[in-house]
Amino acid sequence: MINNTLRFGFIFILLILFQVLLFNNIQFSGYVNPYVYIMFILLLPVELPAWLLLILSFLTGLVIDFFSGSLGMHTASSVLAGFVRPYVLQILSPRDGYEPGSEPSMIIYGFRWFLIYTLIIVLIHHTALFYLEVFRFTEFFRTLLRVLLSSLFSVTFILLIEHFRKGR
């Protein structure tokens, strides 16, 4: 248990640093802005109680908000992602259920499963985030394009990180 807490603390700090120092500086033409910190919410154990998941998502968003100077936006969308995660896991559950005590990872449940899982949550998170940022629907399709392109990049980076994590 303590071992797990330490491990996730480490992952948390690593992902935040990745996001703040590397990915926040990637802004191709004002459209694409990958957000990989959401991976922390993806990786938490399957059996984690919903309330703890929500509070951890809240904290993740809050820290990112402080670093990007946009109070509240990342918090709101991360909490939404944390809220839908149990439902997504339920829909995607394998025929014989999840292994007790396991984490949603590529190594246990396969590439295809992990891709779909990541894609759904990243899309929900990015949609909330980008629409909250512009805060209006007048340029609906422009924002939608930003959501789709950024999601594409985020998912790619998350899969890459997961791949190297697996290899270790």
Partner: protein, 273 residues
């Protein structure tokens, strides 16, 4: 009572979700005005340390461009000296004459945190009160308008970017001298809108837009941008689209301009309002 407890237990995650979202939206709401969010100010001191390190790495990759802009600015200043020297040879005056006192003083600063993709963009400078910066000083990139300082701490300053829905600038068309108000509409980081120009004028795309100096913040004749298009609105005014000279995506070294005679001007103006 038991029903209520059962209800709470059954939907506990939904309730926590709603509470946390409520907090998040409250934070979004309170972030609207820079001065309202005191929490962020405190934490900013912590995060700017990291930002500064990251920015020093980033500078390495754009050194070439920085050199080019500095070189072109040097040429411009050399030409300017040439012009002024000629003038000075013709006139002659006491150096200590108070009429010829300098009105604006210039400082240079580095941008260590910047954004262009929000609706209300701010950027952070690496200098503060200790280096002589104060609120309401003008910030320019090369010769082009970039923003106005809205908050200073000991070592840092926060600048309201021109790319901010709350930013207003008094600007005029250089060729005919008609002035209007320049705002940003929150869409494109390279364009802004100039309004209040009467419709009886002919507008030529490509004309220069410069500052008027009425606000006592920006000196007169600073570059803002060039006209890239215009349309007639229902009222008697044009809506002119201005292509901004400052490239906000590349903002790195900026000039900060302080007006030494600002208090004098404002006090005099106050008497007649």
């Amino acid at each position: 009572m038991r029903n209520l407890i059962n209800f709470l237990l059954k939907y506990n995650s939904l309730i926590i979700f709603l509470i946390l979202e409520g907090v998040a939206f409250y934070l979004i709401g309170s972030d609207n005005s820079y001065h309202n969010s005191r929490i962020i100010k405190g934490v900013r001191g912590l995060t700017t340390g990291i930002e500064r390190r990251a920015s020093s790495v980033r500078t390495y990759f754009i050194l070439r461009e920085i050199n080019q802009t500095l070189a072109s600015e040097n040429i411009y200043l050399r030409n300017r000296i040439e012009q002024l020297e000629k003038k000075e040879n013709q006139l002659f005056f006491y150096v200590s004459d108070s009429i010829n006192q300098q009105q604006y003083h210039y400082l240079s600063a580095e941008v260590i945190d910047n954004s262009v993709n929000r609706q209300k963009n701010y950027f952070t400078l690496n200098k503060g009160v200790k280096h002589g910066l104060t609120v309401d000083m003008a910030v320019t990139s090369g010769d082009a308008v970039a923003g106005v300082i809205v908050g200073c701490s000991e070592n840092f300053s926060v600048v309201m970017s021109l790319l901010n829905l709350d930013f207003r600038l008094s600007a005029r068309i250089k060729s005919n001298g008609y002035f209007g108000s320049l705002t940003w509409d929150g869409r494109d980081y390279s364009h802004a809108t100039l309004s209040e120009i009467p419709q009886h004028l002919t507008i030529n795309p490509g004309d220069t837009i410069e500052t008027t100096g009425y606000s006592a913040i920006f000196p007169e004749g600073m570059m803002v941008g060039t006209i890239s298009g215009f349309e007639k609105t229902g009222s008697d005014f044009y809506k002119i689209t201005v292509f901004l000279s400052a490239d906000f995506k590349k903002l790195h070294f900026v000039n900060v301009i302080g007006n030494l005679k600002k208090t004098e001007q404002l006090e005099l103006e106050k008497q007649f309002q």
